[in-house]
Symmetry: C2
Subunit: 239 residues, 2 copies
């Protein structure tokens, strides 16, 4: 977090004074025609106004008015493995950060590495999503904007997360299964079809599509970049 | 989060201009003796400088220099049940907030209610603390100052949390067992002694005291308020 230091206020005071006194000096010179009066007024102004300006600046730092409060949100991106969640979420997060927004990206894969020992059974996935939801909502409550990309196949656990958050925005990446399976980035589909892994949404676990998501998008139609742009455009209405 | 609106900059511009032009007007009047020259210079100054000031203000809003960056930290308060962790942590968090610091208090009891279905066996407690550590470190990485109050009896899990955080401050509330047990707020000790509950640190599970904590404090000696004050005083060196 950032704090306005006194030194910064001093430097602002000086930069302003230079501009301002130049103006005063010029005006007095023009209207009196006397350079010595202009210099005297300008000189005194430098000293007096620097002092006033410093206190004016510090005073305003204590005033909250006019600092627009933007309510943080949790953008929850759900969809099949390979639907483009991680890539879209990463771009969305970057764009938010470019807008000077304190945003964090929680991603299924990276979070699994750090939330230790979580399995893939229905019960374990549900508990995992519940914990991620707690994490997301706690970040949100502390002013962090969250972009979460999780398969999160079960409606019930998504609704649980919604109930924890103040401002939950659900985005369904409804990229068709055939498209996801054709690319098969991590060979998850082929391994699931071969019976090497279990509980893959869309293969041996049903993916419960959101009933009323805020947005439905599809990277097979729009591509990653355009999909992310649509998300960011939608988010503008919350900012 | 807060954003400096243009309207705020306009209001600052006006309040400053009032003070500044009054000064210029007075100076010109004093040194020329002519009120009409003073009014002309003052009048033109109002218009020209308001414009310059507005852009000066917006320009500085883009400059990062002089905004002091304070690195967030995680204050981890460990100790027996009844050692005063929750109360001390609450006061410490409040004091941080009074200093305009974005601080959050994670407390053993409240977090248990929201991290669902966590048991009290050694393994479950360890996993619970690991998850809380992830939560704390993620908050920290996003600029939130964390005060955590957990019995967290096992060195290993506390060290795991330390490894996740950038700036981990360990505080041992070493209030003597007899004192904690005498007060016995939630009747935990009497119930543990009666065998009604299990895995209470200090009774049937060893409390592994930190080997090299940043602070060792004791509410039986200092009281809650004074203990919290000592914590806040110590934290000043990180701010």
């Amino acid at each position: 977090m950032y704090k306005e230091t006194s030194v910064r206020s001093v430097m602002k005071t000086i930069s302003w004074r230079f501009l301002a006194t130049l103006t005063t000096f010029s005006l007095v010179w023009i209207f009196t025609g006397k350079i010595d009066t202009a210099l005297t007024v300008g000189g005194l102004e430098v000293i007096i106004k620097m002092i006033i300006y410093f206190f004016h600046e510090r005073g305003w730092n204590r005033i909250k008015w006019g600092r627009k409060h933007i309510e943080p949100f949790v953008v929850w991106i759900t969809g099949l493995s390979g639907s483009g969640k991680t890539e879209v979420a990463r771009i969305v997060t970057e764009k938010l950060r470019e807008m000077k927004i304190n945003a964090d990206h929680l991603d299924g894969e990276t979070i699994r590495d750090i939330f230790p020992r979580t399995g893939f059974s229905r019960d374990e996935v549900t508990r995992h999503i519940e914990r991620v939801g707690l994490l997301a909502s706690r970040l949100e409550k502390n002013g962090v904007f969250v972009v979460a990309s999780f398969i999160s196949p079960f409606s019930e656990s998504r609704e649980f997360v919604r109930s924890l958050c103040n401002n939950f925005i659900e985005i369904h990446l409804a990229t068709p299964m055939e498209y996801c399976e054709k690319l098969d980035h991590n060979n998850l589909y082929s391994r699931a079809r071969a019976g090497e892994i279990r509980n893959l949404a869309g293969v041996d676990v049903e993916y419960e599509a959101p009933e009323d998501p805020d947005l439905i998008l599809d990277i097979s139609r729009d591509g990653i970049e355009q999909t992310a742009r649509k998300v960011n455009f939608y988010l503008k209405k919350f900012m």
